[in-house]
Amino acid sequence: MMHRREWIYGWLFLSPALLFLFTFTHYPAVKTIVSSFFSTPRGKRPAKFIGIENYQALIQDEVFWKVLTNNFWFAVGTIPISVGLALLMALWVNSKLKGTTLSRIAFFAPTVLPLIAVANIWLFFYTPGFGLIDQFRSGLFGLPAINLLGNPDTVLAAMIVVAIWKEAGFFMIFYLAALQSIPPVLKEAADVEGASNFYYLRKILFPLLMPTTLFVSINAVINSFRLVDHIFVMTEGGPDNASSLLLYYIYETAFKYWQTGYAATLTVVMLILLSVLAIGQFFLFDRKVHYQ
């Protein structure tokens, strides 16, 4: 009897959280997977089961492949640089040099700003003719105006820079917290043994920061698919889908073109992709990570 009652209590305690989790995460996820096998309902015509037709369309869809490729390069461009930069900034502001408080604030500021605001700032930087970049180019070197956002060859790179600027400060905080939890006496012990700063960094600090690196890089991967706010403000995916990412394409398909069935299919692809990446990272890193 007692056992049974505890079991009920357990579920009662869990139920508020579970309710929200099911309503807003699990149910939509399952519904998405189901919808991906149905046609888009229009007017009086309800959705009807069409099997894998949506998936076949997806394979034929050039824009899908384009945004997937864009997203790949966006991830490759943002993740290593933002994580690397975050570590460098954390090492800097963790040192005993003067002015570290100011740098901490400066590095963290982009994180506090909403991405929409960040996008507006960068929109000003990039504006052809009188934006900050062109002011420098013409003022200092007398170079002609360039339109970084209007050129399909440069627009993705310009988006990558914005994302790095936004993200590095956020990841820095995690590295900074990890660095502060490493006892300074380890550095002293290494000093007494004659280890150079670089040797200490490579053999002691990096391995001890591995759990943070794992955490940060999984977040970076997820963010590289998730962060699309700046695309709305700056390019709307253009020109010619050159800056469109998977999630932005899903948004367009669902809420601009109202092809909800196909949008569900795209979402399933993204879900699978993210799960595989996250799980893959865990397995890849886990053997190398030392948890204290």
């Binding site: 006892p183 006496v185 290494a190 007494v192 043994e193 280890a195 001890l208 030392h290």
Partner: protein, 359 residues
């Protein structure tokens, strides 16, 4: 072992001063460590002993003064160039490295040959009983084992100097006693010079060749454990060394208790060790017993002489009860005498004490 002996180096501090934001941590410190000897820096917390050790190690820089190792000035050198090994209070083991990698850390930094690493590792592991644990991570070891790994990392390179900062303070009492002997034996066997920091006077007395007792950044007294124990230079030393420490009380209090007023007594402080006190019926200083602590082999009797506390350590078979009125007696030559205003040791006056104790 004989052929493996390391030649210890001498260490000398000359008028070393260090302050933190205006407060003096080390004040004109002088220290001489003979090659191959064991020196303990002893003192209460905040006395500057750890700072002194870190200055020798090169982890802190002195504001002024000279630091010499093996006769050469090293004040400007980083720790790695001073040819020292160090064991930290928290052991400072690298948590992600195995025991073997931790011990070999210094040799790997200096790119010693693989063969050299292997022979030294085997020898060190044998010496410290770590051979079975080499593949483990520090978190899988007990406190005592971690301590041994830290020792291993310090001795593997056979540096001429080893510095230890309260290495035993994280261990339980029983382990501390065995490690004490072990560290002392290790130092004797390998022959390096040791500077060892502790706040535990029993540790200092049992391990050291030379005890340097510090207070508020200054050296209060330095000497062999026997000198420190038998001839404390100040009332502070007298009150710091010994369990329980020496009874220190103003001469006037003793004079008042015995009724033997004497002008000479007013300017001095008297000290007598509890173990030299005996209880007698007939003559001596009248006292009242307040607590009796039975320790088996002996009894600690907390007494009161006038208004002063006074501890006597007497044989275990004696019977004493609280509130008993007793007379305390001790040999005149076991009486220490200090200047009342400076606290410094002064020559004692036997006749005066005989006079006092005959009351």
């Amino acid at each position: 072992m004989q052929e493996d002996q390391i030649r210890g180096q001498a260490i000398a501090l000359n008028d070393v001063t260090k302050s933190w934001d205006g407060t003096l941590a080390v004040d004109r410190m002088n220290l001489n460590v003979e090659p191959g000897t064991f020196t303990v820096l002893l003192g209460p917390s905040g006395c500057g002993k750890s700072t002194s050790l870190r200055i020798i190690a090169g982890l802190e820089h002195a504001d002024s003064g000279e630091i010499a190792i093996g006769g050469k000035s090293v004040g400007h050198l980083p720790p790695a160039k001073r040819d020292i090994a160090m064991v930290f209070q928290s052991y400072a083991l690298f948590p992600h490295l195995s025991v073997a990698e931790n011990i070999l850390f210094g040799l790997k930094v200096r790119r010693a040959s693989k063969a050299d690493q292997r022979t030294r590792l085997n020898k060190t592991a044998d010496l410290l009983g770590l051979s079975e644990l080499l593949a483990r991570k520090p978190s899988q070891l007990s406190g005592g084992q971690q301590q041994r790994v830290a020792l291993g990392r310090a001795i593997i390179a056979e540096k001429p100097i080893c510095l230890m900062d309260e290495p035993l303070s994280n261990l339980d009492a029983k382990l501390r006693n065995t490690m004490r002997t072990e560290i002392r034996d290790l130092q004797q066997a390998l022959g390096f010079s040791m500077v060892y920091v502790t706040h535990d006077q029993a540790e200092a007395i049992t391990m050291a060749d030379q005890v340097v007792l510090m207070k508020e950044g200054r050296v209060e007294q330095s000497g062999t454990p026997r000198e420190i124990y038998e001839q404390p230079a100040t009332t502070f030393v007298a009150g710091f060394i010994g369990t329980p420490p020496m009874n220190v009380l103003p001469g006037s209090a003793l004079a008042a208790a015995t009724g033997q007023a004497n002008a000479n007594l007013d300017s001095i402080t008297l000290g007598v060790r509890p173990e030299h006190v005996s209880v007698s019926e007939h003559s001596g200083v009248p006292a009242i017993v307040e607590h009796v602590e039975y320790l088996g082999a002996d009894i600690l009797a907390d007494c009161r002489v006038g208004n002063e506390k006074f501890i006597a350590r007497i044989e275990g078979h004696a019977s004493l009860s609280p509130r008993a009125e007793v007379k305390l007696h001790w040999p005149a030559e076991q009486m220490h005498c200090f200047d009342r205003s400076t606290g410094e040791r002064t020559p004692s006056d036997k006749d005066l004490f005989n006079h006092l104790l005959s009351a």
